[in-house]
């Protein structure tokens, strides 16, 4: 670790303070914005998980949202009236991560020997399978409750503190979403530290080696099979934790939340921010989480004022932005807006 100057420490303290005060400010604007911030943090989570698979190990995974779904359904089934189970979070979250990790390894196994583009298609199909299963596993035995989804899911609670209800502390009122914000922020901090450490670790370097040249990596003594499986499993387990928190926060989940579009969104965040670079990915996720929301609040009224009706729905606009972001990033800044130094060299190689 490099030593930081007092000025840098001061800067860090300011950022920390701003992050801590954010929900209080956003609550003044509207509770909806706190929810948006929470979802943005979840997307940072997901992007960091996918970044391990796509950014570090160079394995294109198009069904990543399936692991989010596995985590969310694990929470929903074990903490809701559906099966009348109400397990505490410290059982479900690790279990969700484990299930998602296992699913990741199972998915990765048949494709390990194959080229990246096959992997992309297989993961795409896997995402669809998970969605079809969620939609149809309501008969003959009702496991997922089908397209209707699972309702009245328990919120996140520690001891007597229920994070879904409003509370006040030192005379300041904290709404449910604001409390979740702090939980998510804490988890996020943990995930960022894990990712930064991973990047510099032996495993992280092995992933990058595989991304750059698998044959050379193998020749250098890396067990490419296990290391790739590990990338899948670890990336997936992050998705599982995020899914669990999503279920707890929303209180309701249905297969609709886990469509292919969501996978594409997460992929766009990773690609735009800069594959392989933790800070770039975080920036990409925040950018692509907030910009469509801003547009939702500006483009919709603007269209109504100009044309008298809604021409382009915000949802469509959002997906168009993601598609265009993917194409333009690859065309003009293939290593992303905030590239990892090594990746930048690689992505620019051979482009005369």
């Amino acid at each position: 670790m490099k030593h930081k100057s007092p000025a840098q420490w001061f800067g860090l303290a300011l950022v920390a303070l701003a992050l801590l005060a954010l929900p209080l400010v956003l609550t003044q604007v509207g509770t909806a914005w706190v929810r948006i911030a929470n979802l943005a943090i979840l997307f940072v989570f997901l992007s960091l998980g996918l970044n391990i698979v796509v950014g570090m190990a160079g394995l294109l995974d198009l069904g990543y949202i399936a692991f989010y779904a596995v985590g969310a359904y694990t929470w929903a089934l074990l903490a809701s009236p559906h099966f009348n189970l109400h397990l505490p979070f410290w059982v479900i979250l690790p279990l969700g991560a484990l299930c998602a990790g296992l699913a990741g390894a199972v998915l990765g196994a048949p494709t390990l020997r194959l080229r990246g583009d096959y992997l992309a298609i297989v993961t795409l199909g896997f995402g669809e399978i998970v969605r079809i299963l969620m939609n149809n596993l309501s008969a003959p035995f009702n496991v997922t409750n089908g397209p209707k989804g699972i309702t009245r899911i328990d919120g996140f609670s520690v001891g007597n503190i229920n994070f879904s209800a409003s509370d006040s502390l030192f005379g300041i009122a904290f709404t449910g979403p604001a409390k979740y914000y702090y939980v998510l922020l804490f988890l996020l901090l943990f995930v960022i530290v894990v990712n930064l450490r991973l990047q510099k670790s032996r495993i992280g370097r092995a992933w990058v080696a595989i991304r750059e040249d698998e044959t050379a990596a193998k020749a250098a003594g890396i067990d490419t099979r296990n290391v790739k499986l590990l990338a899948f499993a670890m990336g997936a387990s992050f998705g599982g934790v995020a899914g669990g928190m999503f279920a707890a926060m929303q209180g309701f989940i249905s297969p609709e939340s886990f469509a292919l579009h969501e996978s594409i969104m997460v992929l766009s965040m990773v690609v735009l921010g800069g594959m392989g670079n933790v800070w770039g990915v975080i920036a990409g996720a925040l950018l692509l989480s907030f910009v469509p929301e801003f547009l939702r609040y500006t483009v919709e009224p603007a269209q109504k004022a100009l044309f008298g009706r809604l021409l382009v729905e915000p949802e469509v606009l959002r997906m168009l932005i993601f598609g265009i972001a993917l194409v333009l990033t690859m065309r003009f800044r293939p290593a992303g807006l905030w590239p990892e130094s090594r990746h930048k060299r690689e992505m620019n190689e051979g482009r005369a």
Partner: protein
Amino acid sequence: MDIFLQQIINGLTTGSVYAIVALGYTMVYGVIQLINFAHGEVVMIGAMVAFTVITALVGAGLPLPPIVLVLAGVLAAIPVCMAIGYLLERAAYRPLRHAPRLAPLITAIGMSIILQHLALLVWGRDPLAFPQIIDNPSFALGGAAISAVQIAIILLSVTMMAGLTWFVYRTRFGIAIRATAEDVRVAALMGIDANRVIAATFTIGAAMGAVAGVMYGTYYGIAHYTMGFTLGLKAFSAAVLGGIGNLAGAMLGGILLGLVEALGAGYIGDLTDLCQWPLFGDLLAERCAADGHVVLFGSNYQDVFAFLVLIAVLVFRPSGLLGERVAERA
């Protein structure tokens, strides 16, 4: 009615559509080793354009026979799809031809999302229904029925496959395509304009995709902006099953996949009926007595078969049924 024969007929019909779409994937892959993810969306746009034209003509009330109407739809869809195919190659893939493999794959996904949502903007969220213009007579065939539309789809597909085979193996341009597929650099040294060949494979694939889209839409009676995704995924699976990059493989893979899917959907419900299994039959005796069946997986799992076939092929024979090159990571 003979269910087995009926499912074979249905499977042949959808299978020949898969085969035509799979040809689009496999031709592009054969030449530049890229999965053109957006191909499914091109097929979807073909169906949408054709449906719009047909509906408009029907609305105009011209006294035209149905076959002319459908033909007009197809003829409108083909140039639109060819233009999109060409633009895709120029805008999204050509600039990235020498970039690392991940890059064109990601642009391909981006283009597919863009096309899908542009279609949503143009045609809206509701599916387009095929106008009721064809009275679709069915013919008895050994205990099963085959409809006129099914016959037309199968015949048209076979004609297109034969035409493409002739084009690729018997014409000068076909030789250029095969040479480029063999080795782009050497082909270029022999005076072949590789860019033209690559652009041509995209446009030919798109033209066939347009026809496939119309056939698929006519068969099921609707076209929807999301139809390209599943259709594309299945057709790609078919191409891999046959051996990607191999024309005959794509045709064989498409037909086989159609058959597997139809037979699977026809029989999986009976096979996974727990009541007929001794162990579960006892455990679930009450429910079996009440409902008669406790079906674990019904025909609503039809879309899963293509994917399972894909996995099985990748595990046991990654080069596909007719492929020569083993698809090892480059």
